[in-house]
């Protein structure tokens, strides 16, 4: 007999079903934080924040560039002000050709409930730039103690 496999080896792992590898006493739920901004030509914004909701911690696992009408550069920091790069990243880093693909953040970065994702961002397109970034990851809910 062949192995009674329950997975389709041709499919992406997520389509076969991934359960959360979360610590005991918690449960993970897929979640996305959204950052929308419209920059004027050449505008630089510093110390922007995506606030983390107060119902659960958030583990950031990937970034998706959902919308950008022009090139920009960006730098991220965590809730303690730790910068994730020594300089600004061009938005082209989040594309394959012109297609947005999830830019992996590994290992995932945990933001505590009530914390913030810090952002510095600068337009490089010399024109109005409508941008939407998706912070893909999971909300980590604490289970009630029985």
């Amino acid at each position: 007999m062949g192995a009674n496999v329950a997975v389709n080896p041709f499919a992406p792992p997520a389509y076969n079903g991934l359960v959360g590898g979360y610590p005991a006493g918690y449960v993970d739920v897929d979640f996305t934080y959204v950052y929308d901004v419209v920059l004027t030509a050449g505008q630089a914004l510093r110390d922007q924040a995506v606030p983390i909701m107060s119902d659960a911690d958030f583990e950031w696992r990937a970034l998706v560039l959902a919308v950008a009408t022009g090139v920009f550069s960006i730098r991220f920091s965590d809730s303690q002000g730790y910068y994730l790069s020594n300089g600004f990243l061009l938005s082209n880093n989040f594309l394959v050709a012109t297609m947005p693909i999830p830019w992996p953040v590994s290992p995932g970065i945990l933001f505590p409930m009530g914390g913030r994702i810090g952002i510095d961002i600068t337009d490089l397109s010399a024109a109005p730039n409508t941008i939407e970034l998706l912070f893909r990851g999971v909300k980590r809910y604490r289970l009630p103690k029985l």
């Binding site: 007999m1 062949g2 009674n4 496999v5 329950a6 997975v7 389709n8 080896p9 041709f10 499919a11 992406p12 997520a14 389509y15 076969n16 079903g17 991934l18 359960v19 959360g20 993970d28 739920v29 897929d30 979640f31 996305t32 934080y33 959204v34 929308d36 995506v50 909701m53 696992r61 998706v64 959902a66 919308v67 009408t69 947005p100 693909i101 999830p102 409508t130 939407e132 998706l134 999971v138």
Partner: protein, 274 residues
């Protein structure tokens, strides 16, 4: 027992330019649904730069996105998200724009959201996955060449939707495990190409159970499809020797594109006795 399943939402009846809150896909009462993939946002909303957005909720009405967002055409759900039996997938669509093939009358829409995952039944085990004899697996494809000679809307006029046609492929000799489907087309006057925006399919398992809530667009199913990272069924399905792969096809074509040659390849492994 897990059964591969796709719940779909057809946006045909919506109006372009409007925003809809609390749209709903009701789920079956006999099984839990594990959501693993959300696909098709570009076919139901305007482009992201034009304000097309979506918000999806869990069965407890918790939002999956902090705000309506322009998710990628194909979005994996990690970890998989469980919907209780009898619950619903609810979602909002901002700035609807239905995709469709133009006709002499009303467009044939392929404006669809695909919620792919598995229905988990409480009985345990897997459906008809076991083979009674010793076997080794050999790659095999069951190929069928069809002609789609009917339009999506009845001609002349092309206003009233036409119904599906049913087809089947016999599984001969040995048990067959289906891993994926590829689709290739040649429209009238066109080149041979990946089948895209041309048909909807409803697939059945070996027991005749539907594997989709409604016929699903080709680009959500075909492993060689354009723009999507599609694959179905997951987990794979076993069709025992002597059974049939049953499927319905709906045309999405305008009359001017007919006839269309269509090749479907059901790819997987045969369980050869050893």
């Amino acid at each position: 027992m897990d059964r591969p399943f796709i719940y779909v939402f057809d946006a045909d009846a919506l109006t372009n330019g409007l925003t809809y809150n609390d749209l709903m896909v009701p789920l079956h009462k006999d099984s839990e649904f594990l959501l693993r993939r959300i696909a098709g946002r570009p076919t139901v909303t305007a482009a992201p730069a034009a304000g097309g957005r979506i918000q999806v909720r869990s069965d407890e009405r918790k939002q999956l996105f902090a705000a309506p967002s322009a998710i990628t055409p194909d979005q994996a759900v990690v970890p998989e998200l469980a919907y209780a039996p009898g619950s619903a997938i609810t979602f909002d669509l901002i700035n609807v724009l239905r995709a469709g093939n133009a006709t002499t009358g009303t467009a044939v829409f392929f404006s669809q959201l695909c919620f792919q995952g598995v229905r988990r039944f409480p009985s345990g085990g897997r459906p008809r996955q076991d083979t009674a004899y010793r076997y080794q697996e050999k790659p095999f494809a069951i190929v069928t060449d069809l002609v789609v000679n009917w339009s999506g809307r009845l001609f002349p006029g092309e206003v009233v939707m036409d119904g599906p046609r049913q087809f089947n492929m016999q599984v001969q000799d040995y048990d067959f495990e289906l891993y994926y489907i590829t689709m290739t087309q040649q429209r009238f006057g066109g080149a041979v190409a990946t089948c895209d925006q041309s048909i909807k399919m409803m697939l059945y398992d070996a027991d005749g159970n539907q594997l989709m809530s409604a016929p699903v667009c080709d680009f959500f199913l075909s492993a060689n499809g354009n723009n999507y990272n599609s694959l179905f069924p997951i987990p794979p399905l076993v069709y025992p020797a002597g059974s049939q792969i049953l499927f319905d096809l709906m045309s999405l074509l305008a009359n001017a594109s007919l006839p269309m040659a269509l090749e479907l390849a059901f790819c997987g492994v045969r369980r050869m006795p050893c």
